[in-house]
């Protein structure tokens, strides 16, 4: 029941504050400057994506703690931030209800929710309630095509993912002089998997790659699948040059192991952007098989001093973990909100909205430029990087300006390591 006490205490406190300031005759302006600013975080911390949800929540929390450690929101008298925790349970109606609850509890802004469907539900809610909603992670393009004024997205859209992926592959093909004609695509059968998978296939089919290439096999498998032997057998028969998997943490491991077992020959495994292929658990459990996997993700920028600083802190708090796409963007989301609060100098929704629109947040630990929002709420400079696992460590290999290592392509076969 600790939380209840906090809320009641908070209310009592602000009432007392109001009373005191009136009595003591403080300038009226101070009354609109709260001692504590509440931000609502809705993440799927239980259910099938719990591991990612928890990583995102940790990213949100780390940003809050950092701001508070540095003195809070300076322009509002050092007001501290507090993160209100919401669990969407990976279900839309729960996510919406949680957002509703957090707004009722005083959240001035909502951050989250990792899943595009839930983002849609919350975006609609926030639009109706007039509360800003900063999406830390959710890729479906449709969310920002609704004309909503209160929704902002830090993450890149699916179309950005694809154009980056296309460029990187083109670059690899050119620089290494390889031929990629046959492309195999697999994806999980959930919202994200299908959107990513389809977008990449459409990109290839629209001949946007500067060389001849075809999708020779496209396999979609149910989320939570236990057995990919049949699927991988199909891939093997199609003899692709590269495999582009869109996975989730569970099936990524089964997939790679099965590729190993069935001796599927590939020039490389290159994902257009998917979780499952970069987590510390993947590297730990897969050992040598994890090496050389290429993944096009909105990753942290290893050359950014900001990233190094937060990664150290994160690793200390959660031994064995590092800041990745999920925790990184979750962190960024809250930092953007804090930055907007600082410029808005008030917690009123309209002021916060204005400030968010004008965001130009430069201390971005992720790849891509400063965070700036377009009219529809998308982050103009959101980008992705190609990462490759080399000797059990994740290295950014493209674009060159952010790269920390040279990429290896074609990659050694899984069974020849």
């Amino acid at each position: 029941m600790k939380k209840k006490m906090n809320r009641r205490t908070f209310l009592k406190y602000s009432v007392a504050m109001g009373a005191t300031t009136t009595i003591a005759g403080f300038p009226a302006i101070l009354r609109s400057q709260p001692k504590e600013i509440l931000i609502g975080s809705v993440q799927p911390v239980t259910g099938p994506l719990a591991d990612i949800g928890i990583a995102c929540r940790r990213g949100n929390q780390m940003a809050v703690d950092e701001i508070n450690a540095k003195g809070g929101i300076k322009s509002m008298g050092g007001a501290k931030l507090r993160l209100l925790l919401g669990d969407s349970e990976a279900k839309e109606e729960v996510g919406r209800s949680e957002a509703e609850r957090l707004i009722k509890d005083g959240a001035v802004c909502i951050v989250g929710p990792f899943m595009s469907g839930i983002a849609m539900a919350i975006a609609t809610l926030c639009e109706a309630r007039g509360i800003p909603f900063v999406i830390d992670i959710a890729a479906a393009d449709a969310i920002t095509q609704r004309g909503y004024k209160y929704t902002f997205r830090c993450f890149s859209t699916v179309s950005t993912f694809m154009s980056n992926m296309g460029e990187y592959i083109a670059q690899i093909v050119k620089e290494k002089g390889v031929t990629i004609k046959r492309i195999g695509v697999t994806n999980t059968g959930d919202l994200f998997g299908r959107v990513q998978g389809k977008a990449w296939i459409d990109y290839i089919k629209a001949k946007k790659l500067p060389f001849e290439a075809d999708v020779v096999e496209h396999i979609e498998y149910p989320v939570g699948v236990a057995d990919l032997s049949a699927e991988v057998a199909k891939v093997k028969v199609a003899k692709p040059d590269i495999l582009c998997p869109v996975t989730r943490p569970g099936d990524a491991k089964i997939l790679v192991r099965e590729l190993f077992k069935q001796r599927v020959e590939l020039l490389g495994i290159v994902s257009p952007g998917a979780p499952g292929l970069y987590e510390p658990e993947f590297i730990r459990d897969m050992g040598k098989l994890a090496d050389f996997v290429l993944n096009n993700v909105p990753w942290v920028n290893p050359r950014s001093p900001k990233f190094r600083e937060i990664n150290e802190r994160f690793a200390k708090l959660y031994p064995g973990k590092y800041v990745d796409t999920n925790s990184g963007y979750a962190y960024l989301g809250v930092m953007v909100i804090a930055d907007a609060l600082d410029r808005a100098k008030s917690t009123k929704p309209e002021d916060l909205l204005e400030a968010l629109r004008k965001t130009n947040y430069k201390e971005n630990p992720m790849v891509g430029g400063a965070v700036q929002f377009a009219a529809n709420g998308d982050n103009l400079n959101a980008s992705s990087a190609m990462i490759q696992i080399l000797k059990g460590e994740i290295k950014v290999v493209l674009p060159k300006v952010a790269a920390e290592a040279e990429y290896v392509f074609p990659t050694p076969q899984l069974w020849e390591r």
Binding site: V45, S97, E100, I103, K104, S116, G117, M120, A140, L191
Partner: protein
């Protein structure tokens, strides 16, 4: 009897006035209470009153939601009209399932598994149908207005939800006192005896599943226009079916107020569990608690909460026998 009606009227008036003092958040909780109470009541008609147990009711929710939404999106037909078409579609599907099940003499657990199988097959197929936005699910445009069934605040949803619940209560009550209702109960209690008495068991089971699936689909339209996003895994999954049956079971199967009472109890409990037990580091504890509550409720209130309440409220109700 009089006393009971007064009590009901009183509760109704309270529910009508409540919204004026409640925040959007609490109203939102009530919306969910009413929504699941309504769906539970629809299920109650089939399983509680007539007998065949369905664990695949989410299929009808999905059918109603998708049909009315597609009609609205592609043809501009307001959901208020589209929902009846959705209901008809669901009734056709429901009655087909019923036909197969009843004609082939499936009862008890076997019928349950049949409904599970069809619901899952339906969900899997829906996942692959392009017109249903098979990639992304359907994102619905938010166009506020009565014709579109879209509203800004939760207040209109509250009243509509309440309306749905009252509607279902009226339907069930009407069934209870009618010939149909009595036949339902007869075949629920002892199918063979009913048959030997000349009741066309097959016909009445079909009527029951037809009504039940039709009404359930109407609820699907409500869902679509409240959440604005449809995806087969959210709206047609096994989980939804389980949520639907939870309320009437805890509240009291085969009773008029069972689903509503069950919902008034379960939805706030899960909300409270989630808000007070969400702690970083112990993610999932609120679900453990919810699960515990379910087990406890089933073990200690096997007749449903409603039966329990009846005992307590006996003095109030005099000797009414008709509930």
């Amino acid at each position: 009897m009089r006393k009971l009606y007064c009590l009901i009227a009183f509760i109704l008036i309270v529910l009508l006035i409540l919204p004026t003092i409640f925040s959007d958040y609490i109203l939102g909780i009530f919306v969910m209470i009413f929504f699941y109470a309504y769906l539970g009541q629809c299920w109650n008609i089939l399983t509680g009153y007539a007998g065949p147990i369905s664990l695949g009711h989410s299929l009808y929710v999905g059918i109603g939601a998708y049909i009315s939404t597609k009609l609205a999106m592609d043809f501009g037909i307001p959901p208020w009209i589209g929902m009846w078409i959705g209901g008809t579609g669901a009734a056709l599907v429901g009655m087909s399932i019923g036909f197969l099940g009843f004609r082939f003499g499936l009862r008890g657990i076997y019928f349950v598994l049949l409904t599970i199988a069809f619901a899952e097959i339906g969900r899997l197929i829906a996942l692959h149908l392009k017109p249903l936005g098979h990639m992304m699910g359907l994102f619905i445009d938010f166009k506020p207005g009565w014709t579109n069934f879209h509203f800004r605040g939760n207040l209109p949803y509250y009243y509509i939800g309440l309306g749905y619940v009252v509607f279902s209560l009226i339907v069930v009550r009407a069934l209870e006192v009618s010939k149909w209702g009595r036949y339902f109960v007869a075949l629920r209690e002892d199918e063979d005896a009913a048959e030997s008495l000349g009741i066309n068991v097959f016909k009445y089971k079909m009527i029951a599943i037809g009504i039940s699936s039709f009404m359930t689909a109407l609820g699907g339209t409500f869902y679509a226009n409240y959440i604005f996003y449809l995806h087969p895994t959210s709206v047609m999954s096994m989980w939804v079916s389980i949520e639907i049956i939870m309320r009437p079971i805890i509240g009291g199967i085969g009773t008029l107020f069972g689903p509503l009472i069950g919902s008034l109890l379960l939805t706030p409990l899960s909300e409270i569990a989630r808000s007070y037990f969400t702690k970083a580091g112990l993610e999932g504890i609120h679900i453990v608690i919810y699960g515990l509550l379910l087990v406890v409720a089933v073990l200690f209130f096997p007749g449903g909460i409603f039966a329990f309440l009846k005992k307590i409220l006996k003095p109030l109700m005099g000797d009414s026998k008709e509930i």
